[in-house]
């Protein structure tokens, strides 16, 4: 088996309890929302969509994954392995993305199920939109994963910076967090114009009672994803160069 696959499997097993808990909780919320559809109306949609907020947990999962290696002193073993260290970091990112994708999958599945139910009962879904089918999957998938990549990228830069500068780690983490968002927002306008040529995702459904087809900001989502991947690359680069045991 290739080293990265071995690291990924190790990392997945290491975080199995947390991942399983998140998936089971998401699945349970989805099931509960579906079971309450007839009585609760629109509020079940909000309940079903609430696990999307789990994306905010992902950077903490990643930080915890790095920290637990230091606490358990298993980083002595990991850093002595004959591989580039960025692979160690990337395996952690990949497992957290897997955990997040599972949350997205179960949540979107529940929402899709609810949308079908609303359609059959002539009830509205998401305040009047007829958003359904593949559109639900494409838009939620793009939005959720773009935001997840951005947050994980920032977490990676924070981790890499902590390896580079070993003093005042909390203050450093806060500084990096603010700096990353500053960079993200600074270039949003400029790059969005260039990315604008990529167009938008037009839906053949009405949204918010508008006669115009909904136009999803694909360029903005792609920009967010690209920035996230860039931050991940920077963070893993720092980790690769400066990671060491205490």
């Amino acid at each position: 088996m290739r080293p990265f696959a071995v690291l990924y499997l190790k990392e997945f097993k290491d975080n199995l309890n947390t991942v399983a808990l998140l998936w089971v909780a998401t699945f349970a919320i989805g099931l509960y929302a579906i079971s309450q559809q007839a009585e609760a109306g629109i509020w079940v949609s909000i309940l079903a969509a609430s696990p999307y907020m789990g994306v905010l947990i992902l950077p903490f999962l990643l930080a915890q994954s790095f920290a637990s290696e230091i606490k358990a002193q298993t980083n002595y073993q990991l850093l002595a392995l004959p591989i580039a260290r960025w692979q160690v970091g990337l395996s952690k990112v990949a497992v957290v993305v897997t955990a997040g994708s599972g949350i997205w999958l179960f949540t979107t599945g529940a929402i899709h199920w609810l949308a079908i139910g609303f359609d059959e009962s002539d009830m509205t879904f998401l305040q009047g939109s007829k958003l359904q089918g593949i559109d639900i999957w494409v838009l939620s998938g793009l939005g959720y994963h773009a935001f997840a990549l951005l947050l994980l990228g920032i977490a990676c830069v924070m981790e890499g910076a902590k390896q580079y500068i070993k003093k005042r780690r909390r203050l450093l983490g806060l500084g990096v967090f603010i700096a990353c968002f500053w960079v993200y927002f600074k270039f949003t306008g400029e790059l969005s114009i260039d990315l604008g040529d990529l167009g938008v995702y037009s839906l053949e459904s009405e949204f918010l009672h508008s006669d115009e087809p909904m136009q999803a900001p694909i360029a903005g989502l792609l920009y967010t994803a690209v920035m996230g991947i860039g931050f991940i690359a920077i963070g893993l680069g720092l980790y690769d160069r400066f990671a060491e045991v205490d």
Binding site: V6, D14, A72, Q73, P82, K166, E244
Partner: protein, 230 residues
Amino acid sequence: MIEIENLQKKYAGNWALRGISLQIAAGKVTGILGENGSGKSTLFKILAGVVRPSGGHVSIRGESLGVNTRRQTAYLPEVDPFYNWMQVGEQLQFLASFYAGWDWNKTDELLQFMGISKDVRIGTLSKGQKARLKVISGFCWSNNLVLMDEPFNGIDPPSRKKILQAVFGEFRYGEQQAIVISTHLVSEVEEFIDDVVYLRDGEIALMGSAQTLREQRSQSLSDIFAEVVA
């Protein structure tokens, strides 16, 4: 085999190594002896590639420290570096995925010799058993260099002798394998050490062939340790 030139390491304003230079020969057992804080563990960490030096240069078989040197080095740190949730066999399989020349027959022999089962969860092992597992992980693949940093902490004295004889004897890989060992139990490893380096406050206090030093000073390595280092 290992060339160390003016090696320095500074931690938060304190010098752990103050510019040491030495050579470690292939096929020999080199003892790095010194009190706590003398820089022994730092030297091992740098050789293993898990800590970056602040200055100087190290090469192992002509290569600067990096992935290639880690590929030929077994590092047995003073801490327990294993995943407690893994079974012994799973942990060894994990390591075997990264190191070429892993010998599963030898692994089984070593496990049997050490009295450890593959199916046991590492978290349930005693400190002594974990120390034995560290020794197993360093001697069941064909590396050129074994770095043993206080490897016998937690192992009872009668077993230590038996394990030392085995790993420096029948379980050693080839004539070219270099073993570098640090321990405060100098008297126990004395008979196995070919070359010795005494460290004091991050500097080399004395080094040379163990046999020559014994003859020149008419003392055991333990007595020299007490005189030179303590």
